[in-house]
Amino acid sequence: MKAARIAPPSDDKRWRVVDATMRRHGYHAHALIETLHATQESFGFLDEDALRYIAATLGVALSHAYGVATFYRRFTLKPRGARHTCVVCTGTACHLKGAPALLDALHRRIDNDPTNPPVSIMAARCLASCGLAPAVVFDGKVVGNLTPDLTIERIEKWLSDES
């Protein structure tokens, strides 16, 4: 079912990426996740206007779009405050290979730092990179076979670039 086309919420050029994604999938409702990904990547987060626009264009219910956007940890409804993100995989393989120790080390380094470093630490269920366990995504780049020391080393590089 093709929904009646409506205009994007603003004349921001980034909507073209979103539109192209929806068009590529023939405006089918099942393109929802793909479209949310495109929007998240273009804008960094999903605001209410974006969700309304996508839901109306794909013909899915608002609550359904909201449900999907909040179910997956990769989507955020608010702009991220931190300049760097560090996603630790806590899937089974990574857990066994020491992901808790990585998280522990990261939190100890970042949380107690009085300078409030611009790094946000997150945990993901499984990155589907189990062969690299334990894996961490540093600003969108997957790095595997980590130890707490190696992980902190990467963070320190960011922090020294900042100062």
Partner: protein, 241 residues
């Protein structure tokens, strides 16, 4: 009778029964007055098999599995046990977990006395909860002119989501978040009064098994749910087919 209907024979609790291949274990059991407890299932709504209250022991080809009766189609030669010490233990545990993860205080609830969660707890002989209570911080939305949603009493059965989508066709309700953060939302998690897709039909109120959805103007134990419309609508649809 169209010849395309295939009949399957199976055994439920030492009773030989037959059913149409499109029926579920639950449908066939009900037809033969074999009780199976349910919570998320409601006649006239699609099955999700979310609550696992209707788990039964299914033996087929020498393998015994636990399967939700409401969402499992019947198969030829199935041997089904609907009530065993193991199933009773699991059902009681599921209920205890539901009580532990919400804030269910019967004494002050509009549905006290006609709540399905309460009724199930009584029928399985649940006397206490062996798990630590979570006491989650949950909100109440009374913004709607006629209705209230109290998330403290919600068991996430999704009956409201399904009735709004399948019967009313508004799809105002859906689930947001994951795991312990899951809750039902109207539209973009707006106050109910501002949810523009809501038609105010009140079907969600009446399918809700607990006091999570209720009509204003009802005090403790005064909220009776009326569900006559569901079997009626189902019968009408079947007649059209």
């Amino acid at each position: 009778m169209p010849s395309s209907v295939r009949v399957k024979t199976l055994r439920i609790d030492d009773l030989d029964v037959a059913g149409d291949e499109q029926q579920t274990i639950f449908d066939v059991a009900i037809e033969h007055d074999i009780p199976i407890p349910t919570l998320c299932h409601l006649d006239g709504l699609g099955a999700v098999g979310a609550c696992r209250m209707c788990l039964v022991e299914v033996t087929n080809a020498n393998q015994t599995r636990l399967q939700p009766a409401c969402a499992t189609p019947i198969e030829e030669g199935m041997q089904i046990v609907t009530n065993s010490p193991r199933l009773q233990e699991y059902r009681r545990m599921i209920l205890e977990l539901l009580f532990a993860e919400g804030n269910h205080v019967c004494a002050v609830c509009v549905s006290n006395g006609h709540c399905e969660l309460q009724g199930l707890a009584q029928s399985v002989g649940m006397t206490h909860v062996r798990f630590p209570y979570h006491y989650p911080q949950r909100s109440v939305d009374a913004s709607h002119r006629r209705f209230v949603v109290d998330h403290n009493r919600c068991v996430l059965c999704t009956r409201c989501v399904r009735v709004c989508d399948e019967i009313e066709g508004a799809h105002t309700w859906d689930l947001m978040g994951a795991s312990s953060q899951t809750q039902v939302v109207t539209d973009l998690n707006q106050p109910w009064a501002e949810a523009e897709t809501c038609t105010g039909c009140g079907k969600c109120i009446h399918v809700c098994p607990t006091g999570a959805l209720f009509e204003k103007g009802h005090s403790v134990a005064e909220m009776h749910k009326r569900r006559q419309f569901l079997p009626y609508l189902r019968a009408m649809r079947e007649r059209e087919l």
